[in-house]
Symmetry: C2
Amino acid sequence: MAKHLVIMAGGIGSRFWPMSTPQHPKQFIDITGCGRTMIQQSFDRFDGIIDIEHVWVVTSANYKALVQEQLTGINPQHILLEPCMRNTAPCVAYVSWKIQKEDPDALIVVAPSDHLVLNVPSFQQYIMQGFAFVAGGNRILTLGMTPTRPETGYGYIEQGELQEGGVYKLNSFREKPNLPTAIEYLQKGGFTWNSGMFMWSVDTIVGELRQYAPQIAGVMDQMVDTFFTEGEQLKVNELFPTCEKISIDYAVMEKTQVAYVMPAEFGWSDLGTWGSLHTLTKHDESQNAVIGDGVTLIEAEGNMIKVPSGKKIVIQGLKNCIVAEHNNTLLICQLSEEQRIKDWHD
Amino acid sequence: MAKHLVIMAGGIGSRFWPMSTPQHPKQFIDITGCGRTMIQQSFDRFDGIIDIEHVWVVTSANYKALVQEQLTGINPQHILLEPCMRNTAPCVAYVSWKIQKEDPDALIVVAPSDHLVLNVPSFQQYIMQGFAFVAGGNRILTLGMTPTRPETGYGYIEQGELQEGGVYKLNSFREKPNLPTAIEYLQKGGFTWNSGMFMWSVDTIVGELRQYAPQIAGVMDQMVDTFFTEGEQLKVNELFPTCEKISIDYAVMEKTQVAYVMPAEFGWSDLGTWGSLHTLTKHDESQNAVIGDGVTLIEAEGNMIKVPSGKKIVIQGLKNCIVAEHNNTLLICQLSEEQRIKDWHD
């Protein structure tokens, strides 16, 4: 059974403006300054596990060129273009129906394109364990990140009974908690962060979608004959928008009887906001995180600063703010207000 | 007696960084966005009063090209290049000795190159009055700005007895006061701001310099034979640096028996700092002064923002700060700390 990778790359990263824009969202940017964009890193970390001919990307039609440019060598047939955003369930369905047509025995890992993983060797061990687990039967596996702080920005997964090989039955999904609840989860134990990474056989996910998301499955059945033909995109453009707009968590994970969670720890962050970048980036003694080589700080504390290389900046007296410049656009705002960033730009 | 204008343009404007840099200081910048630089405005406002062949500029050798570029039509012999900054007394002496050689009957107005005047017709009336006054005898006249607020950033001049035509005997110079003292000056009356604008006949100022600044006068006497010859700059470069470093206020104004002050009001500001620009620029209802066409403000109060045209900026939650960008250099600091700006750059 061949192992396939599905990279979900349709997001617009609106909370990471101005670095991330709808024309060029964060998965296509080298946010951490390491020399590789987020989607390239998402691809790189499966090196040695997944053959490039088994890599799939689901993205928006707008980002086709960016994907081709940044992930050279991917089969163009494996770049799936959503004509519109219908959340993750239709997206997972589309790629699953298509993979099934090419390789009915496929094992699949679904991974976001814009998350950060610091410990790649450890990540790969978990992925190999996960493949072994889902190869063993009709199982849907999600990777749960062992929490390191009472984070209120993530959803949580409650574990049930321990199964084989460090995997638990998945008891329930919990929405982003408030701080007391998050603290309670940590103290109680048995809770992990929902990473949005899933593993399954193509057989399993198609079956579960047929059972719990029959409307979406019906649309897929109408389209599947065109897959890998010239008529595919036209048909997808016509019918994909008729799919129910729903996440894979709601559509399948919360209903299925075969959900499992594998707690894992490999230096993960969803890198969803400037604040998460601030948490992950090296701080100076005043809790400033700086990406950029021309920044002078005076009486500045707790700021997240990301500016182009070579740009000279002096900042005095600023506290707990974001200062971000990209494409001749500058944002200065309070870190505490970062959830509102998406309202401030077009 | 012909009227001459001396524009003092040697300052480096270090408190207006990053807009003003030692390579391109504020007098050569269009700070207010009106289409003319500060030195051009300083020249323009004498239009109709002073013939261009009677305009003189004293500046640093570094700024020769900037002066020639921005004040086209000035006699190159009238652009005096100081090899180093020796404060205003040697500067006034140099240009006075040189004017005397060309026109021994000259009447002179000395004006800074980086001040703002909002009401030019009114300004011209005061200048004409001043020329009439200094033409009438051995008199040194300074223009005192009628104070409109208890400003602590300017020096003050105390008036003595009223003379003819709205002119007073000059009683004393007062250093920049603290706030209670500034309030006292306003309540008491008879105090004006020291504008750094002077008027005199060339005869008078040369005579006063000989009496009260004999060291500087001696250096001038050693150099004067070379003025208007090819050897001038070489001699100036050699001897000018040997002049005592002292302001014209200390060297002459505080000692002379013939000092007068004419209180005047023509919308003046020395535009010395970002704060003075903030005071002068139109405010929104939250006391933000914005120069730049792409700025969006959210919960921002009391800021001075000056950014390049076309630059898109979103600022949220910032209070009483300067945000200034120029030449790919960005400054963000508290307005209250603006006097420290000069310490933060090279």
